[in-house]
């Protein structure tokens, strides 16, 4: 395993306005490193969905990105309510978001499906009442 660039962000759970800062920052870094635009876009989308999920469902958390020459590993950690039924949560169109959240343009039930679609590997560790960690690996 080669050397990596490690970036860490606080995702503020109370603040929709700051949602997207981590993915924007990672996107900028990857662009500067000369990663292909298609790969940068996949990373940005997957990570943004993860950030938004943390804001909507888990009162925020930590987003960690490890950038290697050939890939990025992303860990999205929260201490939120956990996901009771992961298969159901993964189903496109299924959402537990409130009307208020939907009025902001979220809650289409596409967050986790998009994260899966744009990553090469995805793993969800979750426990109800404890929290959730989503691991994403995207190869360049």
């Amino acid at each position: 395993m080669g050397e990596c660039i490690r970036l860490e962000y606080d995702v503020d759970g109370e603040n929709f306005a700051s949602a997207g800062h981590a993915s924007e920052s990672v996107k900028r870094t990857l662009k500067q490193m000369g990663v292909s635009p298609a790969s940068v876009r996949r990373v940005a989308i997957a990570m943004y969905e993860g950030e938004i999920n943390m804001v909507i469902h888990a009162h925020g958390g930590r987003a960690i990105a490890e950038i290697y020459p050939d890939r990025i590993d992303i860990y999205l950690r929260d201490t939120g309510p956990g996901i009771a039924d992961v298969d159901l949560a993964m189903r496109a169109g299924y959402s537990t978001a409130t009307e208020n959240i939907r009025s902001l343009g979220f809650g289409a039930g596409m967050g986790l499906p998009n994260m899966k679609k744009y990553s090469d590997e995805m793993k969800i560790d979750t426990a109800v009442g404890v929290g959730t960690t989503v691991f994403l690996r995207i190869r360049f």
Binding site: F16, A17, A19, G20, S23, E24, K27, P37, R41, A44, I45, Y48, E49, I52, L104, G105, F106, A108, G109, M110, G111, N114, K117, Y118
Partner: protein, 109 residues
């Protein structure tokens, strides 16, 4: 056609300006997850959403501009974020369908 040319030809309001890129296609939508997975870059994104997350999504998809339809104006947070990120935000009283027709006609997309 570039965004500045489009804004002049269409007469749409200009709320914020950015890099003057060509509009190569369009996308209509309000659900942000759909937009980030389906809109293509260099598009004009037509929406009635006007909160700050619109700016984050516009950055992710690298759209040429946002067009707020049906008389929607950016709220203060969106205005500030779009201005700082250098994102074009235009506005029209037209509904999304009419605005999409205008984009298609003027930009030949």
């Amino acid at each position: 056609m570039t965004v500045s040319e489009f804004s002049k030809e269409s007469g749409y309001a200009v709320f914020t300006k950015g890099e003057d890129r060509a509009i190569e296609t369009g996308y209509c939508g309000d659900f942000l997850s759909n937009i980030i997975s389906r809109a293509t870059d260099a598009c004009a994104w037509l929406t009635v959403m006007n909160n700050v997350n619109v700016a984050a999504v516009a950055t992710l998809i690298d759209c040429a501009c946002i067009i707020l339809c049906e008389g929607v104006e950016p709220d203060e947070a969106l205005y500030k974020r779009a201005e700082s990120l250098g994102i074009w935000v235009l506005g029209t009283n037209d509904n999304v369908f009419e605005a999409a027709k205008t984009v298609a006609r003027l930009c030949g997309v």
